[in-house]
């Protein structure tokens, strides 16, 4: 009993060390900038939770983060790096916008919204599949393909916004024309957030959890992630699973893009992904690559991201401090895992 208690306390302590170190690092950077750390952290907390509107903003950042993280669990489980998730969000948003422009005055609302969400998923899925195909058939490392395609996707967005989808007589940097009201996701009365987003996150995480935990498909994916050669000899078709993992992850990325356009901006804007794809990669790393931790960690990160937007308003600091805090936290957690594993190796006399 006491042993288990001590073990738990020890785990908590070692879990806290990276957090303390990360805070120390960001405090140091604040001091370098001549800012008061307490005021900076205070304004971040206020920026994330200070009012109902700010809190719903945080929730609206949590939704795409959690959706992308759900998808990334598939590729990470298969041992694949899907840095292209950013592009999958963007292409999802492009496809949703295309569909909205085509159908918003034709279809009845429930059908329309469902179709728009599916259009986003299809776009993201195909963009993901492209990475998988270039990796399996072209043998190019998925990091380079994904990254390159991210830039292509963003350039395509800009091209569409400044070109074919331009609204005459309006500043183009602000994006395409707003969708018709009926193409907006419904919200709780007076709030920015609505029920559809919350249901989508819950279902996505549940689906991924079930897939990885309870199906043969998930087990094969895991085997492939642990040891592709062994998995191959056990009869797992590696190529097909690579394609499926990327396409599957792309579905969730595309869904996140659809939610960004339909639920938040109600149009296509140049920075539609808000960098949530890259951030979701950190979320999954910090969750220990497990579905259970994704929702709270994503919320924590969403709070940091939204909270840091308060810094330029109150203290004339750049909002990138949020990214610094997130990055350094994940870095220290990784390093600490390494230290613990090393100590274990030594204890075993290796």
């Amino acid at each position: 009993m006491t042993g288990a208690w001590r073990k738990g306390a020890g785990a908590l302590l070692t879990g806290l060390v990276p957090v303390v170190l990360a805070l120390a690092f960001s405090t140091l950077t604040l001091l370098v900038m001549g800012a008061s750390p307490l005021r900076a952290y205070g304004s971040m907390v206020f920026g994330a939770f200070g009012s109902t509107a700010k809190f719903t903003d945080t929730v609206m950042a949590w939704v795409p983060l959690a959706l992308c993280a759900a998808g990334l669990l598939l590729t990470f489980t298969a041992g694949l790096w899907n840095i292209g998730i950013e592009g999958q969000i963007v292409v999802g948003a492009i496809c949703t916008t295309w569909a909205a422009r085509a159908w918003q005055e034709v279809l009845p609302r429930p059908v329309l919204l469902l179709a728009l969400l599916l259009a986003g998923m299809a776009g993201g899925g195909l963009w993901g599949l492209l990475i998988g195909a270039l990796k399996t058939y072209g043998k190019v490392h998925e990091i380079f393909v994904g990254l390159g395609l991210n830039f292509v996707a963003v350039a395509t967005t800009n091209f569409l916004i400044f070109g074919p989808w331009r609204t005459p007589g309006r500043a183009t940097m602000s994006g395409t024309a707003l969708f018709e009201r009926q193409a907006w996701l419904p919200t709780f009365p007076g709030q920015a957030v609505g029920p559809v987003e919350l249901v989508l996150v819950a279902v996505s995480l549940a689906v991924v959890y079930a897939l990885l935990r309870g199906t043969r498909w998930g087990l094969s994916l895991k085997a492939m992630g642990r040891n592709p050669t062994a998995a191959h000899w056990l009869g797992v078709p590696i190529h097909r699973y690579t394609l499926m993992a990327f396409a599957g992850c792309g579905l969730f990325g595309g869904l996140a893009g659809a939610v960004q356009t339909l639920g938040l901006f109600h149009r296509l804007i140049p920075a539609i992904s808000s960098g949530y794809g890259y951030l979701a990669i950190l979320v999954v790393m910090l969750s220990g690559y497990r579905a259970v931790g994704v929702a709270p960690v994503a919320f924590f990160f969403a709070a940091i991201t939204k909270g840091s937007l308060q810094l330029p308003l109150e203290l004339q600091l750049d909002s990138a401090l949020g990214g610094v805090l997130q990055g350094v936290l994940v870095l220290f957690v990784l390093l600490f895992q390494g230290v613990r594993a090393r100590r274990k190796r030594w204890a075993q006399g290796e």
């Binding site: 950077t29 370098v32 790096w81 043998k139 393909v145 350039a155 990669i281 390494g338 090393r342």
Partner: protein, 324 residues
């Protein structure tokens, strides 16, 4: 096109590519030792910011470059400790460092955005710069450009003409064998990772103080990934990597010339071309398409071409090695 114009274009390509050359040679050295420093995009941003900020504040270009190199070496040291000491996934650590350094550069560099600052002075080499064609192409630049030429030559000489260079290749190919022959694999990996990082840091300062003057938000965004791809394209050979950087510079210049000639082409297309090109080139190199194309050549030429085109990663790249 007259000769003077062509000479000016070539000279400007050599000058504009100098940071990329320094960065790719640096990363080639690191990867030759078996370590991947994936953080290049972030490292270049952070060191470009640091180099500019320090030179701006102190008025000394030397201090600017020294600080930038220190930043590059420090980030590389984190990669080295994580991979050599802690056996962590090098890609994971590198990716996190990329994001972290990018945001650090935005946060700390905020006060220096769009400030006019110092730049590396033009320094034609007396006598040599007067030689027709060769003079303006090679000897009418600033110190950074000459340094980039030197780095290529030095790296080639070190890797292929010295004993430590031979050991370096062994460390990346077969660390166990190199260790059995008396090489201190861990120490060498530290050394080359930090050295490569310092060069990448110098490349950052070369951007903010010589090629793309000053500092702005995400000043060199994306170029680090291009550098990593060029290392692969260069087949982990410093001269080939440098040629890759020059090829990239040439295509970029052609692109901007084209933009002037064909006004109808949207600028957005040009934002993405380097990256689309990156995928395409890697596809050519790794998919074996080039190998198959070789069959079209006469048998005699095939062998020479194959040797010139051969691309193989150091066998132990990205793996951990535990010496007992």
């Amino acid at each position: 096109m007259d000769l003077g114009f062509a000479v000016a274009i070539v000279a400007s390509i050599l000058a504009d590519s100098s940071p990329l050359v320094i960065a790719t040679v640096g990363e080639t050295l690191t990867e030759k030792a078996g370590v991947i420093n994936l953080s290049l995009d972030g490292t270049i941003l952070l060191s470009a910011m640091t180099g500019f900020a320090v030179a701006y504040t102190t008025g000394s270009l030397w201090l600017g470059f020294a600080a930038a190199m220190a930043v590059g070496a420090l980030v590389a040291l984190v990669v080295a400790v994580a991979s050599i000491e802690l056996r962590l996934d090098q890609v994971a650590v590198g990716f996190v460092l990329t994001l972290l350094c990018t945001d650090l550069s935005s946060f700390l560099g905020n006060p220096f955005v769009r400030k006019p600052g110092p730049s590396v002075p033009h320094l034609p080499i007396p006598g040599l710069s007067q030689v027709p064609v060769v003079g303006p192409v090679f000897f009418d630049h600033n110190a950074v450009v000459y340094a980039s030429f030197l780095v290529i030559g030095l790296a080639w000489w070190w890797m292929f003409r010295t004993r430590p260079g031979l050991v370096l290749q062994g460390v990346g190919e077969r660390p166990a064998a190199a260790f059995a022959r008396g090489a201190d694999v861990r120490r060498l990996r530290y050394l080359y990772t930090v050295l490569g990082g310092a060069l990448v840091g110098a490349a950052g300062a070369a951007y903010s103080l010589s090629v793309k003057l000053g500092w702005s938000y995400h000043h060199t965004y994306g170029i680090g990934w291009i550098a990593l791809a060029i290392v692969i394209f260069g087949g982990w050979h410093p001269v080939r990597a440098a040629m890759g950087a020059y090829l990239f510079g040439t295509l970029n210049t052609l692109g901007s010339l084209l933009q002037g000639v064909i006004p109808g082409l949207p600028t957005q297309v040009f934002q993405a071309t380097p990256f689309a090109l990156m995928i395409l080139v890697l596809l050519l190199v790794t998919s074996g398409a080039l190998e198959r194309a070789l069959a079209l050549f006469p048998t005699g030429a095939q062998r020479t071409l194959r040797r010139a085109l051969r691309v193989s990663a150091p066998a132990a790249l990205g793996t951990t090695f535990e010496q007992e």
